[in-house]
Amino acid sequence: MAAPGVVQPTPGPVTAPGLRVFVGRPTASPQEAANWTRRQVWANNLHSIVGRAYPRVRGLTREPSWLVFQMLLPFLTTSSFVFVYRALDAPPAYIGFVVIGGAMTAFWLNVVWMMAAQLYWEKDQGNLELYFAAPMNVMSVLVGMAVGGLVMSSTRAISIMFIATVVFGVSFSISQWALLIAVFVLTLAALYGFGMMLASLFVMWGREAFHLTQLMTEPVYFVSGLNFPVGRLGFIGALAIALIPLAVGLDAMRQLAFVSTGPTGTPEPWVEALILVAMTAIFIGLARWLLHSMEERARREGRLTVRWR
């Protein structure tokens, strides 16, 4: 080991003894190397999830600007809507609505920007073709991205919830903790399943998809009732609950976290939990199918690589 500051000369050409390191896992034939057991396939996919999540988790510690941009400033944005309600002398529960909405925004933005648009960016950077040329299922890559993204957005969500709860004195009235936790987990599963589904679509739609992510912020906030009970939107709200995981998850969590606010005109939390289960299954199933279709179509049309942006 060289002393600090001492630069070792770059090693010369690889010599015979060092060449042994080129042999990692010897196999007798390409047929043996190609035929994996089911266990090997599963292990490969699980390891790939961890592998793909790694850059996102590692990135959190390498560029600390997110502390300001992902925690402090979003809290201020949420606070704006708190003050709107305060200006209107709204009941305290509505402050809680806004706080939960602000926290869930973190996950939604992560799904839109870091999931839906991600494979499109990967194609731009030349990573997409490397993923498809590797033996793992590309769904593992999407799941890994989701896991990494969850870590990123959870920090934002928790900080908003905690700070806002303390600063604005939000008091929760929770009677069904298990259901609340289940709804929260299901909401995330449905959200990220939705993101995985969009990821494949966006690869094929290209730049149009990038613009479409713009549509998936304020318009979706509105129909999801990010800052007000979605039941007030009538038919639009009902449609949102049926289609948008953010809407149904938010409404269920609000009903469970603020029991004292009374009926909201929307389904019971356990019904919304079932909707989330169905959404999760549908979105993940669609994500698998779309990913496979996308790959086939991309291989047919030559869209896995990009020569010009």
């Binding site: 770059t10 060449l19 896992r25 390409p30 190609a34 490969n44 390891h47 592998g51 033996p135 047919r300």
Partner: protein, 369 residues
């Protein structure tokens, strides 16, 4: 030996690939037939736009052929993609892929997970390969800070993570300086020496690289293979005479007498004056000899000896692979680059010289290797 015949490492038959484009579709491959034996270092040599990368993308399962079939060790590229991806890897030149926020070691570890290695096994393998490719000092450096050559070494290490049985290298030294390119070539050679029986398919438009590394080369142009053979075989196609350059201390009477010797087609002389520092200028006579065959040289040497001339230097000129290309197509690689810019020249195969592919010296399929 068990006597069983191993499938070819690469077996492509009638591969065509047409891209939909406006105003007319682009035919990138127009019927490629190719067979690469296991353990062979095979080169695809051709100018930009010849279809080399398209062919590699088909063989690496990233692209489907419009028609035809291809197999890697017997596995179909269209339907057995997973199996192929377990036994092959690819590295392209000019790659900017990767995550800049990660260190080189981490970047490689991430890919080790994609290729089926366990977590700890992955770190161990990555550390071994990083040292093997000469990136030891950069292992903890962020990918975004690596130089082009270092990045390509890292890519090369990535390509070796899964001990590929077939290694596809798509212009791997593109954009590298002389030293970095040499390092990468040495790695290729070193890897094959360490792990015999592995197959490499290299695409390049650097003739010297193909000449140096490849056991057999296919010359590709506009989606077709024009010729296949070893570098020596391909050069023999175009070299019908032997060309020598002799440097003599003197030559009395001029080269006329040499030109009349048996087997000599032409002899041209020139005075070459070189000044060596403060020393007086040294004059030599340079003779460019064109002979019908190498054996005629003996007669020339004897004649020169008889004239009292001493041979200071003797060198044989060999054609380059570009000479082979020019012979086959009627234009050079640089002309091709200029033609690329001229829309009138990109019309299609109509202006291509009709040439039958020549597979000089290819072993018979049934021949034992």
């Amino acid at each position: 030996m068990s006597g069983s015949i191993q499938a070819p490492a690469i077996d492509a038959r009638g591969i065509t690939r047409v891209y939909k484009a406006k105003p007319t579709d682009v035919t990138a491959l127009a019927g490629i037939d190719l067979e690469v034996a296991p353990g062979e270092f095979f080169g695809l040599l051709g100018p930009n736009g010849a279809g080399k990368t398209t062919l590699i993308k088909i063989l690496t399962t990233l692209l489907l052929p419009s028609s035809g079939s291809a197999r890697i060790f017997g596995f179909d590229v269209a339907t057995e993609t997973k199996k192929i991806r377990r036994i092959m890897n690819m590295v392209a030149g000019g790659e900017q892929s990767g995550y800049g926020i990660l260190e080189a070691r981490e970047q490689l570890w991430m890919f080790s997970q994609f290729y089926g290695l366990g977590a700890r096994e992955g770190w161990r393998r990555v550390d071994e390969l990083i040292d093997a490719v000469g990136l030891g000092e950069q292992r903890n450096q962020r990918v975004s800070t690596l130089s082009t050559g270092q990045r390509q070494k890292m890519n090369f290490a990535r390509g070796l993570l899964n001990d590929p049985w077939v290694f596809f290298l798509d212009e791997p030294t593109l954009g590298l300086d002389v030293s970095a390119a040499r390092s990468v070539r040495e790695l290729m050679v070193g890897w094959r020496a360490a792990v015999p029986g592995r197959t490499v398919l290299l695409t390049t438009h650097y003739m010297a690289e193909a000449d140096e590394l490849c056991e057999r080369i296919a010359i590709v142009d506009r989606g077709r293979i024009l010729a296949i053979g070893s570098p020596a075989e391909l050069k023999r196609r175009v070299q019908r005479e032997s060309i020598f350059r002799l440097e003599l201390d003197r030559l009395s009477g001029g080269p006329g007498g040499l030109a009349r010797l048996p087997g000599v087609i032409s002899a041209v002389a020139a005075i070459d004056a070189t000044k060596d520092g403060e020393a007086p200028t040294r004059q030599t006579v340079v003779i460019n000899l064109v002979l019908r065959e190498d054996s005629a040289l003996a007669g020339v040497v004897a004649a020169l000896d008889g004239l009292g001339a001493h041979i200071v230097a003797l060198a044989k000129s060999e054609p380059s692979l570009e000479d082979v290309f020019v012979e086959l197509v009627g234009r050079g690689f640089e002309e091709d680059d200029r033609d690329e810019a001229d829309p009138m020249r990109r019309a299609g195969p109509a202006d291509r010289a009709p040439v039958e592919p020549h597979e000089a010296g290819q072993p018979d399929p049934g021949e034992e290797v």
